[in-house]
Symmetry: C2
Subunit: 432 residues, 2 copies
Amino acid sequence: MDIREQAQKMKLCAPELAATPVEVRNDALARIAAGLQAHKDEVFAANAQDLAAARDASIAQTIQKRLRYDEGKMAESLAQLQGLQGLADPIGRVLLRRELDEGLTLTRVSCPIGVIGVIFEARPDALVQVASLCIKSGNCAILKGGKETANSNRVLFSIVHEAAVAAGLPADCLALAESHADIDELLGCDEYVDLLIPRGSNAFVRYIMDHTKISVMGHSAGICHVYVDKDADQEMAARIVVDAKTQYPAVCNAAETLLVHRDIAAEFLPRVQAALAQKKARLRGTEEVIAATQADGVEPAVEPMGDDEFGTEYGDYIMSSKVVADVREAVAHINRWGSHHTDCIVTTNQQTADYFMRMVDSAGVYHNCSTRFADGFRYGFGAEVGISTGKLHARGPVGLEGLETYKYRLEGHGQLVDDYATGRSQFHFRDL
Amino acid sequence: MDIREQAQKMKLCAPELAATPVEVRNDALARIAAGLQAHKDEVFAANAQDLAAARDASIAQTIQKRLRYDEGKMAESLAQLQGLQGLADPIGRVLLRRELDEGLTLTRVSCPIGVIGVIFEARPDALVQVASLCIKSGNCAILKGGKETANSNRVLFSIVHEAAVAAGLPADCLALAESHADIDELLGCDEYVDLLIPRGSNAFVRYIMDHTKISVMGHSAGICHVYVDKDADQEMAARIVVDAKTQYPAVCNAAETLLVHRDIAAEFLPRVQAALAQKKARLRGTEEVIAATQADGVEPAVEPMGDDEFGTEYGDYIMSSKVVADVREAVAHINRWGSHHTDCIVTTNQQTADYFMRMVDSAGVYHNCSTRFADGFRYGFGAEVGISTGKLHARGPVGLEGLETYKYRLEGHGQLVDDYATGRSQFHFRDL
């Protein structure tokens, strides 16, 4: 069946899935866990095929590592499934309840978005995670994983789908897209698909955003900053910079740019450069940074960079740096060059921190802690479907709540607008 | 100055506006009210020019009426400004506060979206209303009104802008776009504009949605339904249908289609047809409707219609109708043909009503009351910027809350992710 037909069928079954009790959705999650354990050998055999193909194709070692689905990864999947079952039902939460007039009651109640397309990286555990989030949140989902894990995906999807149907969920609520052409077809299904969540490289996410009328939730770049203020605890600042840059440089919440207040540049920059060097991370900087870090007659420890290079996302052990006059210049730089993801100020001055956090236009504004905390699990959301740098609907790490919308229920006894328009009746608006 | 430059400047001043205290924003609203009263003669003179031009151009009487800004309309503007000042500050609301670990506190706090482009119909009062909403919500706004009220808009905008600056808001926070070419330029400003709110004809809103990468909030169609169930109080049902269709047929929350349960079709359809006829509203219907309403040997009172015409939004005293087998067929019809705006069931059977309200995928699902209640003022939001049929961010009538997003503030004392990744520290997640 083609993706378009599939999406059309899903649109029809979406209200049915949305109306399932949470016990049924939780049962589906429990059955997925049982299915994974029962079909362990099949899963690992399929994954071995993917790994062998990756070796034959000489795919980079770091990527090969991500393709692997072993006992450890399965244990993580099982733990996530367990955790998800424990979370409160995101459907049917009463967000507002108001009596408009005697016997005319308005209720805003959360409900699933409907049909979601998730395009995720080649990681078999991502399939289980994404499918489980969609089931718990009551959303139909078209899942498209990386082609490098096609065999693993197929086996995992059939376990997930079988579990969902056995629990009583509609058979059309989940579909697996396999070919790359499916993606382009999916992008054209704006009549049936309510939301797309692309994960993967920035170029890929940008491509999706540019080629569909469907709403897209995600982030196409992660250019995070650490600004070290003149009133910073410099020892703390150096630790935060090192953590933000080197704890896991490939991810979107790793810091890419260091901004340092001019008053402490000569003292702090050599110190942080040395701390980064210990973790094999290099600093690039403007002329003023180089001047501040270069000892007489020695080769500069900091590589030169141009003023127009601050939009670079390295995803590696390299960091841009710049000296700024004050917190105002830092904020202006971040709002100009950043990706509105997560930005941090290190300072002991609460007033300066407040200014920074109010003025920086990002999903996360941090004071005295690492940008690497920007993550749904670390925020205590239990599960994360992605991080959004858009400002509408959901911003920052997106958990189950971001997969819900709401509807207004209005319950009356024959009330007509004409009676209110002509003054025969009057609203009294009383929140219940 | 062109729109692009203007938008770029706005993007820079948006955080400044967002950081203004509510007292300053309320003072701007108070000064707008004072300005309107002080410059009353100027406003009315400019409006008289617009009205004269409209007469010369033989613009339809109903539209000419909307162009008028007189003492009555000004009184409405003043009342709205007063009401808006009384509403709580939508900025800085704490939406979540959680201690992730000792001394590491996460706060989700509401903040303005940033830069909004509002393109509204030729109604001078709309300019005052939209500008006031943007000021109260802390959003910069590019305002483009209908060309038929260009003179009124110019005078009203200068009153609004002067008031804003006098209150201490940044001068670049509001701009007036005047030419039609400005709209196309605005559509290309995705780097600077965070949200577009188009109001006006469906074709126009659809055009905007199809020609920009900027997020669009609005509705391109309002095809609302009333389903009269077999267990309906038929007297109540007829009153609701008449109100939903005829109380103000030109607006998006007026009902376009009547669905009637087969068991009561022969009894109810002639009754509602007669009730509609009293208000000079005509019924169109499928063959089964015609059979149910036609007396022997008399011309049919209901006009025939094809099965493929249920996507019609009349905006007039005409209504489509169809006989359905049960609530399931009614829901399927609504989800297939509706615009996900507002749909109503009339029934005394609570179980049937619950099924309908759960399964209909619309912003508003109503039980025993008119679809015409779908409106921000009637929901008690105090002010409305529009109605959204999209599912993301804001759904249904959108008040001040829909003009806000949020950011996450994380405040620590030097916490590093590495300590949590290696198990030296542990999250404890405690909501405060």
